[in-house]
Symmetry: C2
Subunit: 472 residues, 2 copies
């Protein structure tokens, strides 16, 4: 006799599974203003780990963090034509402040190209000031008509990088370095999410970009999630904000700029790339809590409690992020289920009977395996076990994604392929009419790739492949 | 013959000194919307260090980080009468979003008691859910008529803690623990700023609090800066938002809440507590760069560059946060001045002549001392030198503050004492008329203390002292 499921099974209703998981694992709530969210402590601890891992990689590329204002004069948005057109429908506007109506309304930043462009123009004088490599961690606001927690919210948290370079080549190389060394490396090696990298088609580019590079992940329902983007902005913002420098010969030149971002959307990706019907599954390298030591119940002699504490200390000394759960006044089954819901990679369960036999039970969240192990050997096996789980999560996700990525040659085949997966089709075979037919059914070109799966330098190279899917 | 000063001397015009320093040390700029600021990379690196040190201390007290929305329904503010009265004049209001006028305007959070109160009410059911200890790092907006960078800006960065407790005693003890173990410990032991702790008078309390504990520092011009506050909110917000729990006997009880915050204002405190006419002085424990190794110029054999790299490696291995400056195409004097402006605690200058003699010159930012030292002994002496500087900065600031804190017994004596310092006066001697006389001249009671300089439990204890000053 099976137990009633804690959350709606994925196969029954994927969006409901997602919503149930957010609630039951205490990840997030809806804010009181439509489209906003509350990130609860457990989810926020995962976000903090994402921030720290992404931030370290950004700093390796030489970028420095700074902070620019939340409020931007409305007129700034208008200086770059494509940019204002892209963002106008999503803006939140402050019209009153300090008890009166403002002379000029200010917008709440939807992204900071414009205000950062203004300051880059001030700070960049000579070629010696280039490249100027800036990054900012902040909140941004884009009013959403169909909000969905983490995936599409009216306010979200993100990092946005903004750089200025002396040459187009340098800007292009840097945008690609961010794609590869920051985003791809983090997503594959920490989140254990295999990502397709590629170039957006002109239609799908960021408002004001001449090239948008993207990372696209496949969720468990076969839909795509854009996990991060890196844009070459050409000289569009340099022209609009006069970001110029004196070159070695004393001539005035316009700079070339880039911008790139990743956000709390990655939380949604994490949930939907790994989660199952028992809840979230957190890859060990990301996990804020990698191991929970669970006291099943105490014995009179206090041996279980003592063994648990010793084990926790040993694991901490070994550099494992571990938590002790000895709340024995709460039913053991309830606690075990809660840790499963939260996706902690390993549970070690200790009860009086185990201790008497010198054993502990190791439960692996991803596979569900439960193995009794000698207490004396436990501490030494945890670190390699976590590494194994990390690697197996990535392989499982990669196999599952590859299985559901179908090579096709006609638009009609795409319709089948994107029910539960992605389609790969020669880019040359997608004319405007085909794109329209797809888009009418909510299907988009996620990116274009070279034959060996990399982001192409140009959109008109021969032999390019389009990755096509339904997307979040 | 003296050189022309880089920045206005403090004695000539302190506010201008502050403004010059912000510009010349590349710390901050004014944002395009009045009252907002841009925090430039060097200043932001100091803020990141503040965040990491304060955050670690907050986590030790058991609080967890979370994130609540930027936008709050205007109606929430109205639920607690004193709170809305306190904040209404400072609110920024979004009236339009997504291309239309909103049905209910939303305010940009000036602080998050109200929205967090709403969720605490949801999450707290039983006494088992208490204490609920939350913290948030975020931006907030309070429209400022007389903005001053870091000290008083329309948008600033901060952490705000919010906790709910079963009893008044538990809430009070926690608010005090934050004051002592988080704020005071950080300010004294990392910022090297001696702070007076005390209780705000009823007039000066946070809007909605029953007790506000504060930390007050003396700036170099003798004015006070409030560096952080910790509030007991009693049951005011519990009543307004129905934060209640079932106690052990099954009865419904209202919770007791606290809130506490520290902000980018501490950046202003850092600048004005330690800075001198040559620029900022950063205490070593805070410094993102503790030591800069400066190549004066290169020799043909490359011995200087090699020695500099070796030294940097040795210092890094010893856990010192060190930077190499070998930009020899920029004049040495200019670079040395720039590092002085930025307040890096130690410079080690290496030139061809030094290297030939096996020496390096160690320059201490705070005292200006320059000492030639054997290269082979340098790495080992840096860590203890940094600790010595840290301690001496704190003693110097403490001595200077104590020298300028004057015991007085009449209001007239206060007028003299607060020109360049603080006055200590028996609290009982300040009646309403005296407070008004002071306030007419821009002088306020910063806090009340016990005779031995601690925050009193109550305002009506005998023998209390009022600390009185002009304040930022």
């Amino acid at each position: 006799m099976g137990k009633a499921p804690i959350i709606t099974p994925q196969s029954e209703d994927f969006p409901k599974w997602y919503q149930d998981l957010l609630n039951k694992a205490e990840l997030a709530d809806n804010g009181p203003v439509r489209g906003t969210m509350v990130i609860r402590p457990y989810a926020y601890s995962l976000w903090e780990r994402m921030v720290s891992e992404v931030d370290a990689r950004i700093k390796v590329t030489g970028a420095e963090n700074a902070y620019f204002p939340l409020f931007i004069p409305e007129s700034y948005l208008h200086r770059e034509a494509e940019h204002v057109e892209g963002f106008s429908p999503e803006l939140a506007v402050v019209t009153h402040a300090g008890g009166k109506e403002l002379e000029e309304p200010v917008v709440v930043r939807p992204t900071s190209e414009t205000v950062i462009g203004e300051f880059m123009a001030k700070w960049v004088q000579s070629y010696r000031d280039l490249p100027l490599l800036l990054n900012q961690w902040s909140n941004v606001v884009r009013w959403e008509l169909r909000p969905r927690t983490f995936l599409r919210t009216s306010e979200f948290l993100w990092q946005e990088g903004h750089t200025a370079h002396a040459t187009s080549a340098d800007a292009g190389a840097y945008a690609r370095r961010i794609l590869e060394e920051v985003y791809r490396d983090f997503m594959v090696n920490v989140l254990a999410i295999p990502v397709y990298v590629g170039r957006k088609t002109a239609d799908e580019r960021f408002a004001g970009a001449i090239n948008t590079l993207t990372l696209e992940a496949m969720m468990k329902d076969g839909k795509a999630l854009q996990m991060g983007t890196s844009h070459e902005l050409g000289q569009n913002f340099s022209k609009a904000f006069d970001i110029s420098y004196q070159d070695g010969e004393g001539n005035r030149q316009l700079a070339w700029t880039t911008s790139w971002g990743s956000s709390t959307r990655m939380m949604g990706g994490l949930i939907m790339a790994h989660g199952d019907d028992r809840g979230l599954i957190v890859p060990p390298r990301l996990a804020a809590t990698q191991v929970v030591v669970l006291v099943v119940r105490h014995d009179d002699a206090g041996a279980v409690g003592a063994a648990a504490k010793t084990l926790v200390d040993e694991l901490e000394s070994a550099g494992v992020r571990v938590k002790l759960d000895d709340r024995v006044d709460v039913q053991f089954g309830r606690r075990a289920t809660a840790w499963e819901l939260k996706g902690v990679p390993l549970r070690i369960e200790l009860g009086p009977r185990d201790i008497a036999e010198g054993l502990g039970t190791v439960a692996r969240r991803d596979t569900g395996e439960k193995i009794p192990m000698k207490l004396s050997e436990l501490a030494g096996t945890v670190a390699p076990a976590l590494e194994r789980i990390q690697n197996e999560l990535l392989s499982a996700a990669t196999i599952s994604r590859d299985d559901r990525t179908h090579d096709v040659s006609t638009v009609d085949e795409i319709f089948d392929a994107v029910e539960g997966g992605f389609a790969r089709i020669p880019f040359a075979s997608l004319d405007e009419a085909a794109i329209t037919r797809l888009s009418d059914r909510g299907i988009t070109v996620r990116c274009i790739q070279t034959a060996d799966g990399e982001a192409p330098e140009r959109e008109d190279e021969p032999g390019l492949i389009a990755l096509v899917a339904k997307a979040y």
